[in-house]
Amino acid sequence: MKKFLALGALALGYSIAATASLAEDWTPPGPITMHIAFPPGGGSDSQGRLIAEELETRYGWTITPQNTPGKAGLIMAKEMQGAPTDGTVFGLGISEALDYGMADGTAGMTPDDVTPIVTTTLAEVAFVVPASKGWKTFDDFVAAAMAGEPMRVGAITPKIADVTYLMGKEAGIEMNITMVQGGRGMLNALYAGDLDAGFVAGAHSRGVEAGELVELVSGMSRPLSLTPDAPLLADLGVPFNLDIYFMYFGPKDMDGAAQAKLAQSISEIVLDDTTKAGALLEANFGGAEAISGEALQAFIDASFVSAKDLMQAASE
């Protein structure tokens, strides 16, 4: 985690240095609408609202948070099309909206139709099962699937559903993949016994610490914090990962000074764990990761290409 934080900080430093003078001069020309691509109330919504609150406190800006949930952030991206580019409209979503969400072309958008601003954290994505099942490793899960009924596995986004499908295909097991509403919906279904397993993006941490849930696979390109011995997707023969960042983006052709100032100020807030937003990210997501500028653009470009490959692989 520290290595990644350092990388994030480096990237931040780079981008700040490049645009510091630009950012210094910028103040919003009016009240800001901050879209939040999640329904009200959960950890993701709180993250956006706490960042908005801290921006208001630090800079005296007026920010109205507005929930624009749906389709893993695509609805929010659509909503921002044609919005003012002066920095008064931007939103918090997940990187999946820009890669997998736009990769098949049905959205009528590409990542070039938005302006990426800054990431706040990388979701700790893990393949999780209830401890009551008795499966300690992914091999146990596969053995149980081969011995009995098809496993019922939840997915909270379409990208996760595709990766889950490929994971099952590689392991030679049948899984009935079911879409569920967010991390809370997934946990409820796992605890109720409606589902056998599923990838969860951080909401499961307390359950794992309490011994109620077990992490079997890391969905990220790096090991899990709580179960570092769990295999990566690559170890299971799946050449994709679920590196999903929470990130801010704005409408296409956003004013460069606004983009730089927002990236700088949001980074400072999320990396400071004395702020409410920083503390929340530390508690719920294992800490902040602020990537902006060219590093962020490079990540999005690579993810977009990878998402097209993932769709192709999942449709075969």
Binding site: P40, D45, T106, A107, R152, E209, E212
Partner: protein, 532 residues
């Protein structure tokens, strides 16, 4: 955490939660202040003809949310206020019924039958005392039933119902509501269908927004607040305006009330009405636990059972039901008040609202987030704190406090609320309309939302014109998303089985139940019309 720890944590969440202010250096819990304010508002609203508890809940919810914000800490104060209104309104509804023969709420109609004759005999204060005692007793009994039953219902659902059964249960609930609300199953089904069509606009799994006719305005779908406030409140106000147009009267033309004789409620009288209160409380609680049936039937049934009992045991010379018997007031008020607590059993146990008040409890939790009513709430997790369960016990604490307020100050507030009966509708209706649009705009600051609200208001008005209850529409709108999700999940989890609804005996039973409910209601309706 053990169950007792959860109960303690719930109480502490209320008592040691955020403070509203300090009184002599002692912090006064915000949730308790909100419950108190809610009860007072509820009594005043209930006492005002033309207004009703759900109306006040609908208007206050968006305003409260914009004031308290979207965080878990806001849940208990907001829910406390709404619960307070719900409880206060039932109490307040008796005031105009007893004093002026004009029921403030539809379920208080039966109260007029004995309450008003008592007033004419100069016994209005005694009648109000009987109503107060009966109403609060019934309410408290119902709450206890809720506290005991909701966790068991939830645990049973959690244990026995899978995705297909949950889908079938939602279908059963919607059929039941369509069949029993409003007296016409056909109109009920149309109302449910309209609600489902409205909620399915703009949603779906595909990127292209469903049923939006290619317009941006419909792409995001209708927000729940515009639909519900429009149909329930704006529709009701438009209908009231039409009635006013026809009648050109004011609701405040009240005669002078003169009391004479002893107005105290003696111990002997309390003992005399106690069995009626007990009987009606049980009836109301059972009816309240069934989604959709509501307080009016509870009041009617409680009154009928009370009358049968009274006929058997009436002493020589004592007034019969309908002639100013205090037992009549007691039977009605206990029955209609004991619906409110048990109405929350399906809300907390299943996540299914049974009446308009319960809709706003679900709406509050949906809007604020952090708490999803349903079976998973009652997971008594020992190693990790289930914060939703703590909130439930916090809510129960708030309900008990609301009862305490009703017991102690309720009587005095009822007497004070008599002033509301004189409020002319011509003044009230524009105020309600203004507050409604303000509430919608506070939640969604766009002109679109106001137009949608007006559109739904016209729909609500037209539904009332053709005697179609708007409540099935509202409940279908609230449950439509869950129905679609659970059906999709059941379809996927069964490996794409198109007959997933017939995959288990429980879901077949629920489906058969939904057909039988509608058929029985249709036959009943036909029999009634033949007799008429």
């Amino acid at each position: 955490m053990q169950p007792l720890d959860y109960i303690a944590a719930g109480i502490q969440a209320v008592i040691f939660g955020p403070a509203a202010f300090e009184l002599l250096g002692v912090p006064v819990p915000l949730t308790l202040v909100m419950v108190f304010a809610g009860v007072v508002t509820g009594i005043l609203v209930g006492a005002t003809p033309g207004l009703a508890g759900p109306m006040a809940m609908a208007i206050s919810l968006p305003i409260l949310i914009s004031f308290f914000g979207y965080n878990v800490e806001a849940l208990l104060p907001v829910l406390g206020f709404l619960i307070g209104i719900m409880k206060g309104a039932t109490l307040g509804g008796a005031v105009p019924a007893i004093l002026f023969n004009t029921p403030g709420t539809p379920d208080a109609y039966m109260t007029t039958l004995d309450g008003y004759p008592l007033t004419k005999k100069g016994q209005s204060r005694k009648a109000l005392k009987v109503a107060h005692l009966s109403s609060v007793s019934g309410d408290t009994f119902s709450d206890i039933a809720l506290f005991v039953c909701a966790p068991f219902v939830a645990l049973m659902v959690e244990r026995h119902l899978d995705f297909p059964e949950k889908t079938a249960l939602l279908i059963l609930s919607l059929s039941f509501i369509a069949a029993v609300i409003g007296g016409s199953p056909g109109k009920g089904l149309i109302s449910v269908a309209l609600g489902l069509i409205a909620v399915f606009i703009g949603g779906g799994e595909d990127f292209y927004p469903r049923l939006s006719l290619g317009t941006d305005a419909l792409a995001g779908g209708f927000s729940i607040m515009t639909a519900i406030l429009g149909v329930l409140i704006v529709g009701a106000v438009l209908k009231e305006y039409e009635d006013l147009w026809h009648r050109s009267n004011l609701s405040g033309t009240c005669e002078r009330i003169v009391d004479n004789g002893d107005q105290r409620l003696t111990r002997a009288e309390i003992l005399r009405i106690a069995p009626y209160i007990g009987q009606s409380s049980i009836v109301g609680t059972i009816i309240g636990a069934l989604p959709g049936i509501g307080t009016t039937l509870a009041a009617a049934l409680g009154y009928q059972l009370g009358r049968a009992r009274h006929e058997r045991r009436r002493p020589e010379g004592a007034p019969a039901f309908g002639e100013g018997a205090i037992e009549g007031v007691a039977a009605t008020e206990a029955a209609n008040s004991s619906v409110s607590g048990s109405n929350l059993i399906p809300v907390l146990g299943l996540g299914i609202p049974g009446n308009a008040a319960a809709v706003f409890i679900i709406l509050a939790t949906d809007s604020i987030g952090g708490f999803t009513p349903g079976p998973s709430v009652f997971r008594f997790s020992e190693s990790v704190v289930n914060t939703e369960l703590v909130l439930v016990f916090g809510l129960f604490t708030a309900m008990l406090f609301a009862n305490l307020v009703n017991w102690t100050f309720g009587g005095a507030f009822m007497r004070a609320a008599t002033v509301m009966v004189r409020a002319p509708k011509r003044t009230l209706l524009p105020v309600v309309l203004l507050l409604t649009f303000t509430a919608v705009y506070a939640q969604e600051p766009s002109m679109e939302s106001l137009w949608f609200t007006l559109g739904f208001g016209i729909l609500g008005y037209l539904m009332r014109k053709v005697d179609m209850s708007p409540l099935p529409f509202v409940i279908a709108f609230v449950l439509g998303g869950s129905l679609e999700n659970s059906a999709r999940q059941a379809f996927s989890a069964t490996g794409g089985d198109p007959y997933f609804l017939f995959s288990s005996w429980i879901s077949i039973f629920f489906l058969a139940g939904s057909v039988v409910t509608v058929v029985l209601a249709l036959r009943q309706k036909r029999t009634d019309s033949t007799q008429a």
